[in-house]
């Protein structure tokens, strides 16, 4: 492959004046200056979160008392603080986590915060999608690339191999130590239904299991000889030792995509936008030209895309986070 490198000739460069200056690129400094009024208007609604003094995420202020939403999986254990636009650094604490949505509620101890205004309008492909922070100009800008859709969870497994000689659902092999074995499944068993939906071929089963996350339990109707019974099988992540990471490699940074968020899959709904955003700048609001948040940046996914949870969904998540049973508990995790 390296041979290719040298095989590529370098031709004469066009004259400098024919080349766009870097500062005028779509997220170049000069371009971003046009967005400065928007960034300024958002300043008291955004915080920059740091763990042990290293920036991990932005956060969107949702309550003037200091409640902030952010991307949960970036808040690793450590000393949580937050930076404000006035260059003040204040303490912060994790209040509650909606794990399935990867959203955390954080309390920051700062006066003068102003809640983000969430947009009510529909999202359109091609509209500006602006990621502002606490700096005078946005971190980066892009456009909405695709309309809101669901993103399936990272693939998880029950731990069986099917008999590939037919399209049927006969189990040929049960992997050691995974959910299927623990639930008592055996080679020769036939899967008849997944969560009460009848299945007759392998592709259906694989497709249906794609909707489950690692750690969730799926009910399988199993046929063995003349009897049928239900088995509760727990799903496991592909990076589990038993499955072998090399068999199911996890997408990581490479020279095309750059840095990618650890948690970039499994969202109820996302707006896809083309902003090139560093993973540690997720968690903050994604803003339109009216200065309203159309979403909350939730993951840097790859070279061409960043995901944001749409405003409507964020409001629902916030409601769930604020109304869950043990308000005031030091930290608890809620599910949908």
């Amino acid at each position: 492959m390296l041979g290719l490198l040298a095989a590529m000739a370098v031709a004469e460069e066009p004259a400098v004046d024919q080349k766009l200056l870097r500062t005028r690129y779509r997220s170049g400094e000069e371009t971003l200056r046009a967005f400065a009024p928007l960034a300024a208007a958002m300043h008291s609604s955004i915080v920059k979160l740091a763990v042990d003094d290293e920036t991990v995420a932005l956060g969107a202020v949702v309550d003037a008392s200091g409640l902030v939403l952010t991307k949960a999986s970036e808040i690793r254990p450590g000393k949580l603080t937050c930076w404000l636009a006035n260059e003040m650094q204040v303490g912060a604490e994790l209040v509650r986590v909606a794990e399935e949505d990867d959203v955390a509620l954080v309390r920051v101890h700062a006066p003068g915060l102003k809640p983000v205004q969430w947009a009510d309008s529909e999202v359109h492909v091609g509209q500006w999608a602006i990621t502002t922070g606490i700096a005078p100009t946005p971190h980066a800008v892009g456009i909405v690339s695709a309309l809101p859709r669901r993103i399936r969870p990272q693939r998880a497994f029950i731990g069986v191999q099917f008999d590939f000689s037919t399209s049927g659902t006969t189990i040929e092999h049960v992997l050691e130590g995974l959910g299927a074995e623990k639930a008592g499944l055996k080679p020769g068993d036939i899967i008849k239904a997944v969560n009460d939906t009848a299945v007759t071929n392998r592709a259906q089963v694989v497709e249906m299991l794609r909707d489950f996350r690692a750690g969730q339990t799926v009910k399988l109707r199993v046929g063995r000889d003349e009897v049928q019974f239900d088995a509760q099988v727990s799903m496991m992540a592909p990076n589990d030792e038993v499955l072998g990471a090399e068999l199911y490699p996890q997408p990581g940074p490479d020279r095309f995509t750059g840095e990618r968020s650890q948690r970039a899959e499994g969202f109820e709904q996302v707006i896809e936008h083309d902003t090139v955003l560093q993973p540690w700048l997720c968690g903050g609001p994604l803003v339109n030209l009216d200065g309203k948040a159309i979403g909350l940046n939730i993951a840097r996914v790859g070279r061409v895309s960043t995901y944001a949870l749409p405003a409507g969904l964020v409001k629902q998540i916030l409601k769930r986070l604020q109304s869950s049973p043990h308000p005031g508990a030091p930290l608890d995790t809620i599910t949908r």
Binding site: L4, A6, Y25, G126, I143, S145, V304
Partner: protein
């Protein structure tokens, strides 16, 4: 599932090949693996020969005719598009209005393309189903393919011509039309800084997601290739680049490690090679003569190029170069960036000896490296 993963890998590979140009042989970046073209030397003669062939093919009336470029209406564009950068929220609003309108109008014509084991994108440019795509998406002429429209409808098609040197590819939908199509444009009035939309199906067709639209600017261009900061990725290959009135002005072909280095075959190249493409020629252009190879790559480490990889049994290894070495001079010329290191190497003639000045820790070493013709690519 496995098969699909494999297909994508193939497409990615092509892009990978281009990326290794890395440093960046910019007007060459679109050339496919192995089939590189000596842009600097042979471009002019290749273009001339294509033109000659084109003329001789003009007589054949049964070939699909080239669609006429839609005229540029640049003078009617909002003032915001004439500025070097937008200066107000009003400018940004004007851009947004236009981008939304263009994206909505052209989207129905942007297809996902599957040919053999490859998957890419393409754009329909005539009601009877002529499709512009990348040469490396077609592979070779007369192969069956499937084209999927953003709404999920799909049609059968076949590949027509493929240009190896420029990476142009032409396909035709063989099912009966009419099909939604976009207008072809030209680069007569184009400028660096023009806003452009990149559409395509990165990662393959996904009905729940459908098309992915990206906005960027033209960083530079020649009659053969455009570089933009519209991020594209594997699966986008063959997809269209639109100007701000919705005319196709480029076709996605290659990327590098930088999100600002996305390459698109210029639309002029399709006009140039049209009759060859329409006739189903598979060998337009010719492969490059071998360039010098050293077997080491690096990254910018001012002032110089810090080597991040030294290939086994390469000229670099034989010369004693090691990972971590910072090359500061080649033949007494200062290296200001990794790109210039690569450039001096590739501009040498195989067999030539280059004297390098290399920083290793506190030491300054002088090493001679004899460059060679590259080993055959996988």
């Amino acid at each position: 599932m496995h098969a699909i993963r494999f297909l994508r890998t193939r497409t990615a590979w092509w892009l990978l090949a281009a990326v290794l140009a890395g440093a960046l042989s910019w007007s060459n970046a679109r050339n496919s693996r192995g089939a590189t073209v000596d842009r600097a030397g042979a471009a002019a003669s290749a273009a001339t020969s294509v033109r000659k062939q084109t003329n001789s093919a003009l007589a054949d009336a049964s070939l699909p005719a080239v669609p006429k470029p839609a005229p540029s209406r640049r003078s009617e564009w909002a003032p915001a598009f004439g500025k070097t950068t937008p200066t107000s929220l009003d400018d940004l609003k004007a851009i947004e209005r236009q981008v939304k309108a263009v994206a909505g109008r052209v989207s129905p014509a942007v297809v996902a393309v599957e040919v053999g084991y490859g998957s890419g994108s393409g754009v329909v440019v005539s009601a009877d189903g002529l499709v512009l795509t990348a040469g490396h998406v077609c592979g070779s002429p007369n192969r069956p393919g499937r084209l999927t429209f953003p709404d999920g409808r799909s049609a059968r098609g076949k590949t027509l011509g493929v240009a190896r040197d420029t990476d142009c590819g032409l396909m035709r939908i063989t099912d009966r039309g009419p099909w939604p199509f976009a207008a072809m444009g030209d680069l007569q009035e184009a400028r660096a800084g023009d806003r452009v939309l990149a559409l395509g199906h990165p990662g393959g067709f996904d009905l729940k997601r459908s098309l992915v639209v990206r906005l960027g600017r033209v960083i530079r261009f020649t009659p053969e290739v455009l570089q933009t900061d519209c991020p594209i990725s594997p699966g986008d290959s063959g997809g269209p680049l639109f100007d701000m009135q919705g005319r196709v002005i480029g076709i996605h072909t290659a990327i590098s490690g930088s999100t600002a280095e996305n390459f698109h075959v210029a639309i002029s190249t399709y006009y140039e090679a049209w009759n060859e493409l329409a006739r189903g020629a598979g060998n337009i252009g010719r492969p490059a003569p071998p360039r010098a190879y050293v077997g080491a790559i690096g990254v910018d480490d001012a002032p110089g190029c810090r080597l991040t990889s030294v290939e086994k049994n390469s000229p670099a290894q034989r010369a004693g170069l090691k990972v971590g070495d910072v090359v500061v001079k080649v033949d007494h010329r200062e290296i200001k960036a990794s790109a210039s290191f690569l450039r001096w190497v590739t501009e040498a003639t195989p067999g030539e000896t280059l004297s390098l000045e290399v920083k290793r820790g506190d030491q300054l070493l002088a090493l001679d490296v004899k460059v060679e013709a590259p080993p055959r690519s996988p």
